[in-house]
């Protein structure tokens, strides 16, 4: 039993010792070259050009969207204004029509008879 425990402890010790015996790595001579290539690929001129291309593309899209928005807004404004003019013109036309309606020949009869009746009433009182 004790022997087995000692054996286990020895195995545990050997396994844990591996970390102490781990030899430090020497850097591969290509490491820096590969790293700089990767950095160049990710952040270098090529990707910059691509980014600039993308930003130009997005700028163009943004400008187009702004233009469309301005056109839409001005169209809406114009149509609103013309509607407003039409409405005001409609009202004045209606008022004119109404005025015309009550000054027509048909209504003249009522006006005339009304004035005649007033005249006859004053004549009788004078008498």
């Amino acid at each position: 039993m004790k022997k087995q425990q000692e054996h286990i402890e020895r195995e545990v010790g050997k396994t844990m010792q591996m970390l102490d015996e781990l030899k430090p790595l020497e850097v591969h001579h290509q490491f820096r070259v590969r790293l700089m290539q990767r950095v160049e690929g990710e952040f270098g001129e090529g990707s910059k050009a691509m980014k600039i291309g993308f930003s130009r593309y997005f700028d163009l899209r943004l400008a187009l969207m702004a233009l469309l928005l301005v056109i839409n807004l001005s169209t809406a404004l114009l149509s609103f204004k013309s509607n407003d003019m039409q409405v005001s013109a409609g009202i004045s036309e209606l008022l004119d029509n109404m005025g015309d309606d009550y000054t027509t020949q048909e209504f003249a009869y009522y006006e005339q008879t009304a004035s005649q009746s007033v005249d006859t009433a004053t004549d009788s009182t004078v008498r």
Partner: protein
Amino acid sequence: MKNAAEATIADREITRSFQKSGMTSKEDLFRSLVAEHQEMVINTCYRFVFNREDAEDLAQDVFVEVFRSLEQFREESRLSTWIYRIAVTKSLDHLRRIKRVKRFGSLKRIIGAEDPSGELPAPFSENPAEALAENERANILQSALNRLPDSQKAAFLLSKQDGFSNQEIAEILKTSVSAVESLIHRAKKNLHDRLYTYYQHH
């Protein structure tokens, strides 16, 4: 490794000259940073992943991240501490990813599809028999290490690397020296217990 005071002065000079020079000489400064820290970064990653190729890939990721975020670096900590912190974070992320892949691999094995990416080679020896035994031992150690909490694992593995004092580990992990000592102590105990349990049953 240089002592802490020398490293601080060098870091400050690099940062200041970078801030003064702007974007044009960013690459030159980056080159000098890589030259100065590449060995330490690769070896830090190697402690975590036990594999040269993975360590170099991770070190590349670390330096790409350094290049990307160099302008945002504030002198809250030393430049070297900041770089090693990125190395630790990337290494822990890599181990988590492997864990996920392994989990997925065992699921694949259950449904009948093998996944070779789960096996991690650990070339410690030139002799095939020894290499095989060491490979197995390395796998046992790695699986025991992977079951430690991240903070314990990071503190313990950094303490095993030459050149990191407990003070520096505390700065990298953004904690106190006493906390680092406690983390290392608990990591050793947990690792011992896990390995003991493993050898008891095998």
